[in-house]
């Protein structure tokens, strides 16, 4: 109305306007910043079957099942020791074929996955952005005591086969792991298809020039099925392998000594 009124309004509204302006600016930053610091992936070790990453947190429930959720990183992704903690490794979109890792735990915006690197039972957390989600309704159980392998779909058992497992000195490692890949190795004549797992021999650091990856595969002679003679691998008859080849990567393989 008069200058006095205007001044009074102007005077007491400046602090409020300033707060709004600050909030506005902060609001913009809040939307732009995804909350995670930019990670320099070049300094991180890649988690693959060839790597040993001793700082990986270990699986706290190595004999539990999962709900079948598997994830595929579309790009190289940092692996963290805990949500919002420090990254200690990275994982890329391919291992043997596409990378699919089983999810063993979830919190808002993060998933914990089993890693294919050494030592056995390595896990890590991935930020749940740029991850493709899928579900495997299968699970595989290997029993080193009865020397059998079972395949389940949606909880129903599709088959149970005699399996060859690791010998006493070179055992098949107990605990949960997963189907890491499906390969046809031209240098092997013993089995057309080999399914490398996310686990390694606990006693052999290297084998045949490789890092000691444990796998499921076939064998030309049936006398090994049901015997503990391998260097860690799980040998199954062709009928089992025919079924197992159609199981998605990332599917849980639970190895126990029953």
């Amino acid at each position: 109305m008069g200058r006095a009124a205007q001044n009074q309004r102007g005077g007491s509204s400046v602090p409020a306007l300033a707060v709004l302006a600050l909030l506005g600016a902060a609001g913009v930053f809040a939307v732009l910043d995804d909350g995670k610091p930019d990670v320099d992936l070049t300094t991180l070790a890649g988690a693959s079957t060839f790597a040993t990453i001793s700082t990986a947190p270990l699986d706290s429930q190595p004999f539990a099942g999962t709900d079948g959720l598997v994830v595929h990183p579309r790009v190289e992704t940092a692996v963290y020791s805990a949500p919002d903690a420090e990254p200690f490794a990275k994982v890329g979109p391919t291992q043997f074929g596409a990378t699919w890792l089983p999810v063993v735990e979830r919190v808002d915006g993060w998933v914990r996955v089993l890693l294919p690197s050494k030592p056995n039972r390595s896990t890590g957390w991935l930020a749940d952005e740029d991850l493709e989600h899928a579900s495997s309704s299968y699970s595989i159980r290997v029993h080193t005591g009865s020397r059998t392998l079972e395949l389940f779909e949606r909880g129903k058992r599709l088959g149970k086969w005699k399996a060859g497992v690791g010998a006493q000195k070179t055992p098949t490692p107990p605990g949960r792991t997963f189907l890491l890949g499906s390969i046809i190795d031209p240098k092997r004549s013993a089995s057309p298809v080999v399914l490398p797992l996310g686990a390694h021999s606990p006693t052999l650091d290297t084998f045949g020039g490789g890092p000691g990856t444990v796998a499921i595969h076939g064998w030309p002679r049936p006398d090994v099925f049901g015997a503990a003679v391998s260097a860690g691998c799980v040998r199954v008859p062709q009928t089992a392998l025919d079924r197992l080849q159609r199981v998605p990567l990332g599917t849980l393989v639970l190895i126990d000594s029953k």
Partner: protein, 298 residues
């Protein structure tokens, strides 16, 4: 009293702003359950895997767009340009000039008996001559063993024509446009050329199949609902060799961004995808074995 209302109002706005900002800041960045709207132009699984490209998604409802088409060098699939857009419960794809199997048929040599038959076609009545059943050589593509009767030709003269002057590619599509908004979507496909012959798309109705078997099964306008209420429409799904290679062209997914309350999944009366339940993500893919050497512990 009137003099005090405006500053009070401004202060109230500032306080509300602060509260709102706190709420926004504490919203999880990337909810594991909610899927954002997304779109990609080309993706494939199988012997020649292709990461979805270009790929764009909108987690916050703001519109994102990309034309960064990056196909790996491969003998099977090429595309000229693509633009993908994803926003607030809407997405779209424009994909131009896709070619499948460029130059694949140039390698096919005519078996000598067929060469003789083609060279000595009679002046009249040739159209009634049947197609001989001769095996075709491996085209170097993930296709089952084919013979000449599998080719889409009506008679011997057409077969001779096809093999003597092979088309430049197996399949060519000049444009695919796909869009979705909320839980609706549509597809517009330009002209399709199969083995050099322009073929009519029987319909772009949801789930229509273009008959080109056994070379390929091409499904148009595949639509599906996600467990989280998202809706996906894919322009063309090309299935080669019964699953050995599946190529998806122009796929758009619509979903409400994470900040909004999660929509309850609406029951969809059409296109049930085998293996998906309400409440689980899509079925994980069956792996295609990779030829490589890796020593495992026997």
């Amino acid at each position: 009293m009137r003099r005090n209302i405006v500053p009070t109002a401004l202060t109230a706005a500032a306080v509300t702003g602060l509260v709102a900002l706190t709420l926004v800041a504490s919203a999880p960045a990337g909810n594991a359950v909610d899927r954002p709207s997304s779109a990609y132009a080309v993706g494939a699984d199988g012997q020649v895997p292709v990461e979805k490209t270009p790929y764009v998604e909108s987690r916050d409802g703001r519109e994102h767009s990309s034309s960064a088409l990056e196909l790996p060098k491969n003998p099977l699939l090429s595309a000229r340009t693509a633009t993908v857009t994803a926003g607030n419960d809407k997405a779209s794809v424009e994909l131009l000039d896709v070619t499948l199997g460029q130059g694949a048929l140039n390698q096919v040599k005519l078996p000598p008996e067929l060469k003789k038959s083609c060279a000595s076609l009679p002046a009249t009545g040739a159209d009634d001559l049947p197609i001989p059943d001769l095996p075709l050589p491996d085209l170097g593509l993930p296709l089952p063993d084919l013979s000449t009767v599998d080719l889409p030709v009506k008679n011997l003269p057409e077969l001779c024509d096809l093999l003597l002057t092979p088309p430049s590619s197996i399949l060519g599509i000049d444009a695919i446009n796909v869009w979705c908004a909320g839980d609706r979507g549509g597809v517009d496909v330009g002209s399709l050329t199969l083995l050099g012959l322009k073929i009519q798309i029987p319909s772009t109705k949801e789930g229509a199949v273009i008959p080109a078997a056994p070379l390929a099964t091409i499904t148009v306008n595949e639509q599906s609902a996600g467990a989280d209420g998202s809706f996906t429409v894919t322009g063309l799904t090309i299935n080669l060799g019964n699953g050995a290679q599946v190529i998806r062209l122009a796929s758009a997914t619509c979903a409400k961004p994470a900040a909004h309350p999660k929509p309850t999944p609406k029951p969809k009366p059409t296109v049930p995808i085998p293996g998906t339940d309400v409440g689980v993500p899509p079925a994980a893919p069956v792996p295609t074995p990779v030829k490589t050497h890796h020593p495992v512990t026997g």
